[in-house]
């Protein structure tokens, strides 16, 4: 499985006669010798789906940055009268049928079904609340610095707007989803990165050097894999003081998880390195006196980019949901802070699935974001593969 190291091949002027493979864009000739990354970027842009996914990821991460602004409600606000409200319909045509440029929402009344005690919500057609944009709302610090109370959209008092409905305590689900994304789209990536780095280093060393180093590292991996994690979490949950900031705790948990999850990646990296390390170009680099870390980073790692990219995109969903597994131990995010994992956890009772199905909406956001990561990863993988036509 020969592969000239990426940079050398694309750079070299006397590009071997594989001209079709590394076709150079036509528009201008001066970037004939474009750097490797801009080349990958060009190929990536060509990759329709990756472009599409990247756009959505950018939107998501804009949402993460301006979460407080976009969310009409903060995390603390709740109205018990509106608990379990279904998503409200946004109208353009009122009862008489004339059109309103500014969309509006009706007021809602709630009654309890005498027999089943289910809260039934009915639109109160004669009360209209036009949707305001950039309205005053709850105080917050934009980007954590600028105190303001402007929110993207909202309705005047006493109207309420819940575009994705509310949860058991009458908290606006859309706001919790947007603010929750701040946790769920940031911290899991930290975890994934850590397990990637550890797995790569230990797996790489084990695979590259072999011999007794490999034996020791493999035994350490076996030791880690035989660890029962549940008692560890139980001990941890008892040890953590009650008042600790919830988001920080979640970060510690993700870090701990990544310290346990790296074994899978390490094994594969080892297997691949053992196979790659006898390649001519690696031997050549070694003879040329290139230092081991350089060999690993410059020659071996690019060799397994495909697996790394796939492994990273596969680890993300696991990390996003990792916290739900331990919430019964009191670890992980707890209200008033929230995350996508918590929203899914709350939706996990049969009552919610049966009566309030809109609580499952966060599920689609998790799936969608994970798909975006995956397709973007795919695009990256293809762009980085020199053999790919």
């Amino acid at each position: 499985m020969k592969r000239l190291p990426l940079s050398k091949k694309l750079f070299s002027k006397n590009n071997t006669d594989n001209e079709v493979g590394s076709k150079i864009p036509t528009d201008n000739t001066e970037d004939y010798y474009a750097s490797q990354w801009s080349l990958i970027w060009k190929k990536l842009k060509k990759h329709k789906l990756a472009r599409f996914s990247l756009a959505f990821l950018i939107i998501f991460y804009l949402g993460v940055i301006f979460a407080d602004f976009i969310a009409p409600q903060g995390l603390q606000e709740y109205q018990s009268d509106y608990s379990n409200t279904p998503p409200m319909q946004i109208h353009f045509f009122d009862t008489e049928g004339n059109f309103h440029l500014r969309p509006f929402v009706y007021g809602i009344e709630s009654t309890r079904h005498p027999e089943t005690y289910r809260k039934v919500f009915v639109e109160d057609r004669d009360v209209m609340y036009p949707i305001q944009f950039f309205t005053e709302g709850k105080e917050y610090k934009l980007l954590g610095l600028i105190p303001t109370n402007i929110h993207l959209f909202g309705v005047e008092e006493p109207g309420e707007i819940f575009i994705l409905g509310t949860d058991g305590m009458g908290r606006d689900l859309f706001s919790r989803l947007v603010i929750g994304s701040r946790v769920s789209l940031s911290i899991p990536l930290v975890g994934v990165a850590i397990s990637l780095v550890i797995g790569l280093i230990l797996g790489g060393i084990s695979g590259y050097f072999g011999g007794w180093i490999d034996a020791i590292i493999q035994r350490i991996i076996e030791l880690f894999r035989s660890f029962p994690t549940l008692p560890l979490w139980m001990a941890l949950s008892a040890a953590i003081p009650a008042g600790i900031d919830v988001v920080m705790m979640y970060l510690y948990i993700v870090i701990i998880i990544s310290f346990i999850e790296w074994t899978g990646l390490a094994r594969v990296v080892r297997g691949q390195f053992m196979s790659l390390k006898n390649e001519e170009y690696v031997l050549a680099a070694r003879i040329a006196g290139v230092s081991t870390p350089k060999i690993i980073s410059k020659h071996l790692v690019p060799g397994i980019i495909s697996y790394l990219v796939v492994a990273v995109t596969l680890a993300i969903p696991g990390m996003i949901l990792a916290e739900t597994a331990m919430s019964f131990l009191g670890l992980g995010i707890r209200s008033p802070a929230t995350s996508w994992g918590v929203l899914l956890q709350e939706a996990q009772q049969i009552d919610n699935v049966a009566l309030y199905p809109w609580k499952l909406i966060p599920l689609f956001f998790v799936i969608f974001s994970v798909l975006c990561f995956n397709f973007f990863g795919d695009g990256l993988r293809d762009a980085a593969d020199p053999y790919k036509r």
Binding site: D81, A242, G243, G330, D351
Partner: protein
């Protein structure tokens, strides 16, 4: 608020109307209306059917075959003598034989889910729990100063293996098992009487009068003896012929341990506990219950087959139980109970009020009916402050009645009932519900209004005037007033968040901490808990005191005081003031010679709790949901759902039957 009250009332009346027209006699409605309350107390019990008037008996088809093939004697020989047979009253109509009762359970270590419904105590509580009625024993006499109880058994009654059940079995249990503490339990408090002067406890004596009568003599009067036995130690008997083959006293130490290992136990102690106490899931051990274990409790379905020697019949002489098998199906997760109920895998189940709406909406489709059994809980959303908490600052605070009142009025109960009990619970204080002994007028409205200003005023009065930058009150030494509420069950997450919001509005910082059950009980038993959400629930403090009176460890609100009493003073902390009064009243109650006197002291204890309100509640009690498939008949519409009444057992499952 008013609207919901009417809605709930109409619901309850509708149900009781329904039960009335079904021809049953005394469907009890726990509605608020005062008048019905009084009549129920002196109501004449339904005229007893004289057992000897039954001319002939008939039996289940599956038993008829066994009789014809000679495996078991005829029904007449199996039942007790004619006049001693117990006639069980049916709820709706005389049933037909056949079919099974199927309930969900978590597996072999969930013994009580199968134990409670099939239990046969010596005496059992009547419907409203005000008095005991005959069950295994057919009657009793008590002398006027309640020191001597003569108990009459049923002649000709037999164990499930056909061996006669006599007074010897009672004596054997008393002399060779209970007093020798062979099954890991010490002698229950019910068997002691208290010397009014010295407060000393004296154990009763049990003597045999004849094969079917025995006498229990107390040194001092113990009026509630039979009621307390009916709660603490329901089966005041054991199959002597079986236990003689395993108890070390009879077979010797090494033979016993040999048998223990044969049965797969690590040591004799755990073997004797499993056979002496949690005996009903063992096939080999004879019982008086309506159904007998027939396979390994670890298997997928634990089947209890009909007991051919069951000593009860209905008024037409049909030997009970109607249903062939009592089956417990294993579930891996609570959600399976709901799904199984919807899908028809179970025809009987108990659920919490949170599941009410889903169950109610599927009544037609899943062909079952949701019955509201009122609960004996004081509240459905409790905050229990540990009066003996280790932290000195916090202890002085929680012991201060003003602090408790402040925390009570700081919370909007309307919101709690809406969110936690789906609007079913009342916005009232934790108090003894209607229809139970100890109900006090006005208790439920004590500190029940939502008044944050009053709360702040009270907190200022206590001296917590200083506040830090984000508004939390400080002790004198400058540390923040912080309350850590610990819980082992995620279901209370929403309630605790509400409480946290309201407490912090009045300046009391709250940390919520969820832990796994093991850690929770470890903290409980080492007095590490500051506050928790354990819901207080007791039928009658005179019969089971340790919920309201600090007599032993295990109740989160009284921390170390219970340990002080349990270790008679060696460990724990000595209760003072109001809490000490609780213990004093309890000792007096124990020494009371008549039931009325005992009730007086019991009332004192309730009054103390009413006055001090150690246990805060933010939503009224909600009924437990008993769900029965429509094909399963004779399931009472309403019974108090309490551990003391053995939950579903209070509905006498032996008379349930399957109607196609």
């Amino acid at each position: 608020m008013k609207k919901r009250l009417i809605v709930f009332l109409s619901l309850v009346l509708l149900l009781s109307f329904l039960t009335a027209c079904m021809g049953s006699s005394e469907g009890l409605a726990t509605s608020e209306t005062g008048d019905e309350q009084e009549t129920e107390a002196e109501k004449e019990p339904v005229e007893e059917v004289d057992p000897s008037s039954i001319s002939s008996y008939n039996e289940a088809p599956e038993l008829k075959e066994l009789v014809e093939s000679g495996k078991i004697p005829s029904v007449e020989e199996r039942l007790p003598v004619a006049e001693d047979v117990m006639v069980e009253e049916v709820y709706e109509e005389t049933g037909v034989y056949g079919g099974n009762i199927t309930i969900p359970w978590k597996g072999a270590d969930d013994e009580w889910t199968v134990g409670k419904p099939t239990e046969e105590p010596l005496f059992r509580f009547n419907e409203d729990g005000s008095r005991v009625e005959p069950n295994v024993a057919k009657g009793y006499d008590v002398n006027d100063d309640a020191t001597e109880f003569t108990i009459y058994l049923r002649e000709g009654m037999k164990w499930s293996d056909g061996v006669p059940f006599t007074a010897d079995d009672v004596l054997f249990y008393w002399e060779h098992m209970l007093t020798k503490e062979t099954f890991g339990k010490s002698v229950y408090d019910a068997y002691f009487s208290v010397d009014p002067e010295t407060g000393e406890r004296h154990m009763a004596e049990v003597t045999k009068v004849d094969d079917y009568t025995f006498k229990v003599t107390h040194k001092f009067s113990s009026p509630d003896f039979l009621k307390r036995v009916a709660i603490d130690n329901k089966w005041f008997f054991a199959p002597a012929h079986f236990h003689k083959t395993i108890l070390p006293e009879f077979v010797g130490e090494e033979k016993a341990s040999e048998i223990a290992t044969e049965w797969g136990f690590a040591d004799v102690k755990s073997f004797l506990k499993a056979t002496g106490y949690y005996y009903w899931t063992n096939v080999e051990i004879p019982t008086l219950r309506a159904w007998v274990a027939s396979n390994d409790p670890h298997s997928e379905e634990f089947v209890m087959k009909r007991n051919p020697y069951y000593w009860k019949v209905d008024k037409e002489g049909n030997q009970l139980p109607y249903v062939n098998n009592f089956i417990a199906k294993k579930i891996q997760d609570p959600s399976h109970a709901m799904l199984g109920m919807l899908g028809g895998d179970f025809n009987l189940g108990k659920f919490l009020v949170q599941d009410f709406t889903v169950l109610k909406e599927n009544e037609q489709k899943a062909d079952f009916r949701v019955l509201l059994w009122p609960s004996v809980n004081f509240t459905s959303a409790a905050i229990v402050l540990n009066q003996g908490v280790e932290d000195n600052n916090l202890r002085s605070l929680v012991q201060n009645i003003k602090f408790r009142e402040a925390l009570s009025v700081a919370v909007d109960r309307h919101e709690v009932t809406e969110i936690v009990t789906n609007g079913i619970g009342e916005p009232i204080q934790a108090s003894v519900p209607e229809g139970l002994v100890g109900h006090q007028e006005g208790w439920k409205d004590q500190w029940a209004e939502f008044n944050p200003d009053r709360a702040n005023q009270l907190l200022d009065e206590i001296g917590l005037t200083e506040k830090n930058s984000n508004g939390f009150r400080l002790y004198e030494d400058g540390s923040v007033v912080t309350l850590t509420i610990t819980d082992q069950n995620q279901a209370s997450a929403e309630f605790l968040e509400l409480v946290k919001n309201y407490y912090e509005n009045v300046g009391v910082k709250v940390n919520i901490k969820f832990v796994d059950p093991g850690t929770y009980s470890d903290q409980l038993y080492n007095n590490q808990l500051q506050a928790t959400t354990a819901i207080p629930s007791v039928v009658n403090v005179a019969l089971r005191p340790d919920v309201l009176v600090p007599l032993r460890l295990g109740q989160p609100w009284q921390g170390d005081f219970g340990l002080y009493r349990e270790s008679n003073g060696e460990e724990g902390t000595k209760p003072e003031g109001e809490i000490a009064k609780l213990v004093e009243n309890w000792d007096k109650l124990r020494a009371a010679s008549t039931e009325e006197k005992a009730m007086e002291y019991a009332n004192e204890i309730y009054k103390l709790h009413h006055k001090n309100q150690w246990l805060l509640g933010y939503a009224g009690p909600t009924p437990s949901l008993v769900v029965a498939a429509n094909s399963l008949r004779n399931v009472p519409e309403e019974r108090f759902f309490a551990d003391e009444f053995r939950e579903i057992g209070h509905g006498h499952p032996a008379q349930f039957f399957i109607k196609e």
